[in-house]
Amino acid sequence: MSIILDHVNYIYEKDTPLERKALDDISLVIPDGQFIGIIGHTGSGKSTLMQHLNGLIRATSGSIYFNGEDIYDRDYDRKKLRSRVGLVFQYPEHQLFEIDVFRDVCFGPKNLGLDRREVELRAYDALRRVGLPDELFYQSPFELSGGQKRRVAIAGVLAMKPEVLILDEPTAGLDPRGRTEILEQIKKLQRETGMTVLLVSHSMEDVAEYVDRILVMNQGRILYDDAPKAVFRHYRELEEVGLAAPQAAYIMHDLRERGLPVNTDAITVEEAAEEIARAVRAAGGLPGMTGQRI
């Protein structure tokens, strides 16, 4: 089962002077259970693409198949599609509204018409999955910290039991620990449930650390679609489209240029540290170098 996009185009304000191509001939296969990062500068088409996946926007031309069914078919249940593809918008905590956390998370499944017991079970499960401590369940969502609010908002989408979870910059505005906590939680969720996760991010360091595959968007097209290491090899081209490689990758390129024979494929701090330590040892070490302290 999978999502297939076949020559999808989307044109804003078609047949007016403001006509603009937001998606330009996108063809793509998203198999089950992948963790995909989507990067691209503001206005590159990331959000438009995301909104096509759960039917919020209808393509101007082309087809989208969800588990083999054409979502634009006359009798396709697009309302149901929205619960199968969960979309977490930017700053989702702005959409919290209930008087306590638990009721807020119940809102989605309740609207699916499930019975009360099932609704509450799902809400409870979703809150556990995002790692929110039990004692906060009956607090007002507005009393929580930024990171906690965001977890509640994500739980609200999870409680719909989507097969695909799309998150639009889930870590924007959070402190470094909050960022790591949310991403670790999402990774764990993806591993445990086998859910497909699409993560839109402006942090190259985060996508390098967490995802299996990266889609790079530029001017409505997919510029690269590959494993993180392969994508970040194109760091110069990425810079030209307003992006960058993770800092660790730049360091590796610098070191190699200065004569340390390192493999420049390291894209996380951990990988870079391993590789530099190996190369330095292989080159005879540094003066005053000791054994490994780990």
Binding site: S145, G173, D175, I251, R258, I276, M289
Partner: protein, 281 residues
């Protein structure tokens, strides 16, 4: 006395429940004292809820102290007659560029501040031009702001503050919503203001890389200043920062990881160049 001085600044607010009943008192800023000299580049770090935004809002009198005093260019922020002078002296830029731009055309937006100050028209245009040039947005002066990228909008917001000729500019997470390029543009513009125009900068951020060039860093925790020093002094303390829910720049973390693997590197490496040198390359 510096351009911004706080003495035992405390700020408390009353927390209320749904019905408006008092639930308790929150001390968001707790006896903070600091002194910022004209022309310095100051960074304020701290986790969500540490009190850094509340502190920033004291600097242009959006909030004023419950106890203690804040002076901006010698003016006590509690004295209402100074309000407009204070806001003109210390301009503020917020996180979301879309909430700060009001003009239909970039140059109109930038002119809004000086116009409100009653500056003669000719001088307004002169200031608009200078400000837009300072942030590298002069070429976009005739554009509609909604045609700009996030980074460009933020630079227009900065130009809008700059056109009021402030001595100090406070930026509260100006890059949180931007893509990598937007972040670079904004930080470059901010450094330019500080180095070329001599404007005092107080930058609040969650991105550690943005402040390696700051003159002085304050780290907030529970409304207090938990750490202060130069970026090198601060970023040498990797574990302490992680305890405070913060981080260090990736290159600093890499050097730290290399130390853990037995490489004799100095603490607090801040740039790629420093790492290369420390590795003897």
């Amino acid at each position: 006395m510096g351009i911004v001085k706080a003495e035992k600044l405390t700020y408390e607010y009353i927390r209320r429940d749904e019905e408006g009943n008092v639930e308790g008192l929150v001390r968001a800023v707790d006896e903070v004292s600091l002194d910022v000299k004209q022309g310095e580049f100051i960074a304020i770090l701290g986790h969500n809820g540490s009190g850094k935004s509340t502190l920033a809002k004291q600097i242009n009198a959006i909030l004023y102290p419950t106890e203690g005093t804040v002076w901006v260019d010698g003016m006590d922020t509690k004295e209402e007659e100074h309000l407009w002078d204070i806001r003109q002296t210390a301009g503020m830029v917020f996180q979301n560029p879309d909430n700060q731009i009001i003009g239909q055309v970039v140059e109109e937006d930038v002119g809004f501040g000086p116009e409100n100050m009653g500056i003669p028209t000719e001088e307004i245009w002169q200031r608009v031009e200078e400000s837009l040039r300072a942030v590298g947005m002069y070429a976009f002066r005739k554009y509609s702001p909604n045609k700009l990228s996030g980074g460009q909008k933020q630079r227009v917001s900065i130009a809008g503050v700059l056109a009021m000729h402030p001595k100090c500019i406070v930026l509260d997470e100006p890059t949180a919503m931007l893509d990598p390029n937007g972040r670079r543009e904004v930080i470059r513009a901010v450094r330019g203001l500080n180095q070329v125009e001599g404007v005092t900068v107080i930058l609040i951020t969650h991105y550690m890389e943005e402040i390696v060039h700051a003159d002085h860093v304050f780290v907030m925790d529970q409304g207090r200043i938990a750490m202060e020093g130069t970026p090198r002094e601060i970023f040498s303390q990797v574990e302490r920062l992680q305890d405070l829910r913060l981080d260090v720049p990736q290159v600093t973390l890499l050097a730290y990881e290399l130390q853990n693997r037995g490489l004799p590197l100095p603490d607090g490496i801040l740039t790629r160049e420093e790492l290369i040198q420390a590795l003897g390359l």
